[in-house]
């Protein structure tokens, strides 16, 4: 299964805040289901944001983003294959059938170093709002 989480919840430090949420750098990533298919990315701050996030490979098998080479250094990733990707979901007006995932700016996580960042891909063909519904 993808995205195996440690038994204890690890605080992820964002090396850069998420665009739109400049005050928040510390998040936890916790499973929202039992299958590792949906996660909460939750700010540690009481008034901070939280997001639903999905591992994109399970939903979008054709998704093969090219990460900037500098991301590995920023996240202390020795091997790019160790990175875990999560795409943030938008559920417009609570309408789940219209839910979309942001493939343009995946959150890249190094689970070992507990570091992460949202990477805006240079490749503009990855949609910001790709429907989750197939």
């Amino acid at each position: 299964m993808t995205a195996v989480l440690p038994a204890s919840v690890v605080v992820l430090g964002l090396v850069d805040p998420l665009p739109g949420f400049p005050k928040h750098r510390d998040y936890v990533l916790v499973g929202a289901d039992n299958d590792g298919l949906v996660f909460w990315l939750q700010s540690m701050a009481p008034d901070g944001p939280r997001f639903l996030a999905v591992p994109p490979a399970r939903y979008f098998p054709d998704y093969a983003p090219v990460l900037p080479g500098t991301v590995c250094a920023e996240l202390d990733l020795e091997d790019p294959a160790d990175a875990q990707l999560y795409c943030l979901l938008t559920v417009p007006n609570g309408d789940v059938s219209a839910a979309t995932a942001n493939l343009r700016a995946p959150v890249v996580v190094n689970p070992v170093a507990a570091r992460a960042r949202q990477v805006v891909l240079a490749d503009g063909t990855h949609p910001i709002r790709r429907p989750l519904r197939r």
């Binding site: 993808t2 990175a83 559920v91 805006v120 490749d123």
Partner: protein, 98 residues
């Protein structure tokens, strides 16, 4: 804000290692070229604004959505997809788009 006037073929240098070249000016449009260290991300402003807007919308999600999402999650993966998250990350260098 600092304002400079430059002509086609001229350059602006920012710090020691960032160059901005004026490549072409046509009508109301200017083409710029950038030379910068790889760790300096270069994006059109609209892209960042779009990502910020998408994040702000994404943060409006409620726990109510979660149950209904189950209808859209893929079926449990076959065994070979164990490394799917890792397989996403090519880690290949890319040049920032202009």
């Amino acid at each position: 804000m600092l304002t400079l006037t430059r002509s086609v073929g001229e350059t602006i240098r920012i710090g020691d290692d960032i160059e901005v070249h004026v490549v072409e000016v046509r009508g109301g449009t200017v083409r710029l070229g950038f030379k910068a260290p790889r760790e300096v991300p270069i994006h059109r402003e609209e892209v960042y604004r779009q990502i910020a807007e998408a994040n702000l919308l994404a943060a409006q999600v409620t726990a109510d959505s979660l149950g209904a999402l189950a209808a859209f999650v893929p079926v449990p993966a076959p065994a070979e997809s164990g490394s799917d998250a890792a397989a996403d990350a090519k880690g290949t260098a890319e040049q920032p788009s202009s």
